[in-house]
């Protein structure tokens, strides 16, 4: 536990001190501000546009950070041979993978908190009243990105950082669509495509189940009980994927 915590703190320092992260966050904030302009050209829907565009920007930039940072975390340690220092000490591979993930979770929490609070403040200024659901939506983006970070770390134990990033983005897109694709293939009544979409639905994390953006802008009623259950599913998914990553990483030689 001690080692996991030490690695997590080190990972947090590594990622939070990376200048590229600051650049991405500044871009994200600029994109959120651009929502003000979009709102101004939409008739009477300024607040809604602001929330909608802002949450998309938070998700997109959060995804960039999640995928590209997670893909490099394990890979960089192997490439730059800092693993020699770690694994010549009594550090288990499980503690290493878990510590890396926990550290990245902390960084992602800081990044999303920054973007979320900025969006919350802008929406407050535009709407004239605070909107707590915006912050809840950002929390649910965080939950989605936890799954993507775990998946990307898993892929990075198998191949290159670039491949892991690409696959991480693919899983994010598939996770947004898998539920709808399954529903559509069921309508088609083709057993092969239905079985295929079922397999994808089971393997890929169902991210759309915790996506509350439509609810925040008033297009959907939010069923928080169900969202809570899907959040628990995603957290269990993270544990399984990290266990697989540790299993793969245990076989590695340096």
């Amino acid at each position: 536990m001690n080692q996991l915590f030490a690695i997590a703190v080190n990972t947090f320092k590594e990622t939070i001190r990376d200048r590229i992260l600051a650049v991405i966050v500044v871009f994200a904030l600029l994109m959120i501000v651009a929502g003000l302009w979009l709102g101004s050209i939409s008739l009477g829907e300024q607040g809604r546009m602001m929330k909608d565009f802002g949450l998309v920007a938070v998700t997109a930039f959060g995804l960039i950070v999640a995928v590209f940072v997670a893909a490099g975390l394990v890979h960089k340690e192997v490439e730059k041979r800092t693993v020699y220092v770690l694994f010549s000490k009594p550090v288990s591979r499980v503690a290493f993978i878990s510590g890396k993930f926990v550290g990245l979770c902390a960084t992602m929490a800081v990044v999303l908190a920054g973007m979320g609070l900025f969006l919350f403040a802008l929406v407050w200024v535009v709407d004239g009243q605070p909107s707590g659901t915006v912050l809840l939506a950002v929390v649910m983006v965080y939950v989605q990105l936890l799954a993507i970070m775990a998946v990307t770390i898993f892929f990075s134990t198998l191949g290159s950082a670039i491949l892991a990033s690409v696959l991480g983005i693919c899983v994010f897109v598939a996770g947004q669509l898998s539920q709808n694709v399954l529903a559509l293939t069921r309508l088609g009544k083709n057993p092969v495509t239905e079985a295929l979409s079922w397999v994808i639905y089971v393997i890929v994390p169902n991210l759309s189940a915790v996506d509350v953006k439509a609810g925040v802008v008033g297009e959907q009623t939010l069923a928080w009980g169900q969202i809570g259950l899907w959040t628990a599913y995603l957290l269990a998914y993270v544990v399984v994927v990290l266990a697989l990553a540790a299993l793969v990483f245990r076989r590695k030689e340096f």
Partner: protein
């Protein structure tokens, strides 16, 4: 009564598979040697002889194909290791890096802090303790590398090319550290191409060539028929 060796390597073989066709390359072809507790042991050999691989297998960074490694200490908690051409975390200061390494062992906070500060002094990096490692020179990185290898006060210290990249002052400092480890009863194994340092520091040496130990003994034994260790080394590796 005989004392158990600090490190015993028996019949160590390691084959790796390289390239698209997974061609098998045997790096270690049956390495045998042992290091007595408290000794300063030099593992010598030309590039590609298998010295670094032997050390990596001993530490568990690589798995042996066959053979065995017996660390005479209770696990890696009592071992220190300096890799060859070490690279550390750019974004940490020297003090933060040593603190991080110390946290990987079950040390109390006050012991940890005292150890970190003591080692920074021992390797002459107090003035640069709060400088980020990316601003360190090669010699400074080597010194912080030695400090991290000693952060757990290990019984067995494995140093892979500890003198590489050091200026004469740095070399003297590292030699002093190795001598002080010896005086404190620690076991030191180091790989080096600088034979004068080996001559000065080591009580016993093993020479590797093409994945095997081709000669081992004491430094006086090596010098029995050769004027210098360099001559003896050349004789052994070119035989």
């Amino acid at each position: 009564m005989t004392t158990a060796p600090a490190l015993r390597i028996i019949g160590l073989r390691k084959t790796v598979h390289v390239g698209f066709r997974r061609r098998a390359v045997e790096i270690l072809k049956g390495v045998d040697f042992q290091v007595a507790p408290g000794a300063v042991f030099g593992l010598l050999g030309p590039n590609g002889a298998g010295k670094t691989t032997t050390v990596k297998v001993a530490l568990g960074l690589m798995r042996p194909t066959s053979g065995s490694v017996d660390l005479g200490v209770e696990g890696l908690a009592h071992v220190g290791y300096l890799p060859e051409n070490p690279y550390f975390y750019d974004y940490l200061s020297g003090r933060e890096f040593l603190g991080f390494c110390a946290r990987l062992f079950t040390l109390d906070a006050d012991v940890r802090q005292a150890r970190v500060e003591g080692l920074l002094g021992d390797v002459g990096l107090e003035a640069a303790a709060d400088t980020h490692l990316r601003k360190y020179s090669k010699g400074m990185l080597q010194r912080i590398g030695i400090a991290q290898a000693l952060v757990n006060d290990p019984e067995l210290v494995l140093l892979d090319e500890p003198m590489t990249g050091l200026d004469p002052v740095g070399r003297v400092e590292v030699k002093r550290i190795i001598e002080s480890l010896h005086e404190r009863g620690k076991t030191v194994l180091f790989n080096s191409h600088i034979l004068s340092d080996v001559h000065e520091l080591c009580s016993r040496i093993a020479i590797m060539r093409e994945g095997r130990v081709v000669w081992q003994g004491t430094v006086p034994e090596a010098l029995a028929d050769s004027p210098t260790l360099e001559d003896f080394f050349m004789k052994v590796v070119t035989a």
